[in-house]
Symmetry: C2
Subunit: 246 residues, 2 copies
């Protein structure tokens, strides 16, 4: 499993992804699921992946190939002129990779499927955030629906819905995402630290802060234990229930 | 969809279930998913159901039939001598009903499946809580795993995991379950008020408080809006994130 969230703020975009992959509970590994590209002054692009690892790695390798050898397969992720065109390209690539593997072998339903979150900004365009489906089509976030989740999305959703604020600072956004990940990690063994984080500031047109929250990160641990206490306090402050008259 | 929780406390058992059933988003109805039986001084039994409505109603009708005409099909739910035997009987009945319908018609995977939470106390036995699978087998709760959820379980789980305490009062348990249901209702259209509640007090050997939290319940509404504010406060009290040194 996997958990990734892309969050749209007035200030920019924040991405967080876990790094655990598993094929059964006795076969777990750590793989990066967040990939970034930039051409300073022109664009910053972030891609996060969930689903079949062979599929997602293949898509990313093809994108890397395209980005490294721009002459070979025009236009690559560094040449497309808008985020919409990048999303279209990534969607097509994803669909092709799934189709290729599905032809060759196993027919099991959705085995080779993958879903992706793509976000970034190119040139004069606004920052944009997309959710790309295995069929190659995609939807775009707006301030009505300001975040996308992929993978194990449910445990971490209530806190996002309750505490998200489009005006929040990047620091608060990372705190919020950390809580959402903590709830998910507590409930699903196949989601785990370390977590990759990328913070893109609107208009900067270059990758922003990119870092990894490690297993033993003191802030994350403090947040996790503090949240348990804070939730109990919050619970205590709510009005008491009293039984209805029989 | 459905959401039901059975919770084990030192003081007794608390059950809560929603009442929405749906077959597509344009075909929703209200059906009771919680059923109780008691013989005062001897036993109290509660059953909650999730899954195919035809299956669950059929199981409950058969149980009612058995309970109403004890001579016909011995022993019924009011005659079994332990909660374990009741769980075995309900599990077998569930398996039979699924098998009967599966033979007759549609072959779609898991279409007729259902899952149930069964709890109660009989005679000198301890209060017991079971989760019954469509295959007819079941698992039992203990204070290591003091609650069972069926239906749309994920959204409402983090708050249960964080705030549950085996020593908590019935009033606090209902408050906690209400929050868990509120998180679920906010995220999944196919879970909805009214909610049915049953509180069974250990050793009472009769049904306890049985009531319905209606759509316009002022306590539930106050809790729901208060929880949003309390969560934001709790969020604000947690330590601030600061970016690592580059």
């Amino acid at each position: 499993m996997t958990y990734c969230v892309g969050l749209m703020l007035k200030q920019g975009l924040v991405f967080m992804s876990d790094t655990r992959t598993n094929s059964g509970v006795d076969n777990i590994s750590t793989f990066r699921k967040m990939f970034t590209w930039d051409v300073p002054g022109d664009r910053s692009i972030t891609l996060m992946t969930a689903g079949n690892l062979a599929t997602t790695q293949s898509v990313v390798s093809l994108l890397e190939e395209r980005s490294k050898e721009p002459g070979e397969r025009q236009p690559g992720i560094l040449e497309e002129e808008s985020m919409f065109q990048v999303a279209t390209m990534v969607g097509n690539l994803l669909k092709e990779v799934i189709a290729t593997h599905a032809e060759a072998g196993q027919r099991a339903d959705s085995t080779f499927n993958a879903t992706m979150i793509l976000g970034g900004q190119i040139g004069d365009g606004e920052p944009r955030l997309f959710l790309i489906y295995p069929e190659g089509n995609f939807i775009e976030a707006s301030f009505d629906t300001p975040f996308f989740q992929i993978g194990e999305t449910k445990y971490g959703r209530p806190i996002l819905v309750r505490a998200y604020d489009p005006e929040m600072s990047f620091e608060d956004a990372i705190k919020l995402l950390s809580l959402s990940f903590d709830s998910t990690i507590k409930a699903n063994l196949s989601v785990s630290l370390p977590l990759d984080v990328h913070v893109y500031e609107t208009g900067s047109l270059r990758n922003g802060r990119l870092f990894r929250i490690q297993d033993n990160d003191t802030y994350f641990l403090a947040l996790s234990s503090g949240w348990g206490i804070a939730l109990k306090d919050a619970f205590g402050q709510l009005p008491e229930f009293s039984f209805p008259e029989p």
